[in-house]
Amino acid sequence: MSEITSSIFVIVPCYNEATVIRDTVGRLLAKGYQVVVVDDASLDNTKDSLSGLAVYYIRHEVNLGQGAALQTGIEFALQAGAARLVTFDADGQHDVNDIALMMELLDKEKAGIVFGSRFLTGASANISLSRKIVLRSARLVNYFASGILLTDANNGLRVMTRDAALKMQITENRSTHSAQIQDMVRQNRISYAECPVNISYTDYSRRKGLKNIASIRILYEMILFKIFR
């Protein structure tokens, strides 16, 4: 394990991903990253499927949502002395090779956080049209909620420095957390950049991921977030 990658902590929030989590985590470990799996009270045997792997395993006793799981992972990684933090979806849609490219961009731009984007040129993703429309509108909604316009607001792949992570206080437990992260970036004047990343939609990730219809509920939560934050 190299010196550099061993202080990079990859946070993988998961809920009922036992069939794919071992594969996702294995690919991260192969790159030498520290992996923190935050099991958001899965009902399947997520923990058993990770047995023997060199990962940190944290379990929420009650299901709280992806935003809450990310915050738990961030706090744990900071306590463990992480220099860089990565958020990474458990379902295997991200490409582990993108992390290194995002790290380069983080250094080059001297940014606090780099957001992955499937819509920038250079990214490859086999996205369906309906999905594209939903994601394109979601980015506008996130813009109105946070004041920052990203090309791909709902991408789960992000890389941040320790300083930026120290300022993260995700209180939106469910899907609104992506807008809240952007909101905190703006409020704390954290410099940010976007990096093209590959997304491989599999039948599994399509089935497991958020349905397009869920965007209506997220919109509702977003309005509440604006009112009650």
């Binding site: 047995s51 023997g52 940190y56 395993y57 944290i58 379990r59 006793e61 509440l224 009650f228």
Partner: protein
């Protein structure tokens, strides 16, 4: 006295007693409860009083005024309850999170 007045008055008496038994600790609460009790009883016994207030405010009937005010009040209550729920959720999250981090384990068996 009409039957509906008896039903409403017994309801108000019940709620007032309940509130009083739960919150009798300080004087301000007692005064507020007494005002609520007095006001409710007064308007139940003299429903036409609401009409004269309503007309001064530009509403035709007293019942309508009570209806509007009630909607506003209930909406306010929902907002209060919602923000209370959010606060509770936040505390709950922190407890679950802290416990999770406390029990974090490294899955690879050390040789």
């Amino acid at each position: 006295m009409s039957p509906i007045q008896i039903i409403l008055i017994s309801g108000v008496v019940f709620i007032t007693l309940y509130l009083y038994l739960r919150l009798r600790s300080n004087l301000i609460d007692a005064i507020l409860i007494f005002l609520f009790f007095g006001g409710a009883i007064f308007f139940i016994l003299f429903p036409d009083a609401t009409t004269s207030i309503a007309q001064r405010l530009g509403v035709k009937r007293g019942v309508n005024l009570v209806f509007y005010v009630t909607i506003l009040f209930l909406f306010f209550l929902i907002l209060k309850l919602y923000s209370r729920i959010r606060k509770l959720e936040k505390k709950f999250t922190e407890i679950v999170r802290d416990k999770g981090i406390e029990k974090a384990e490294f899955l690879e068996k050390k040789q």
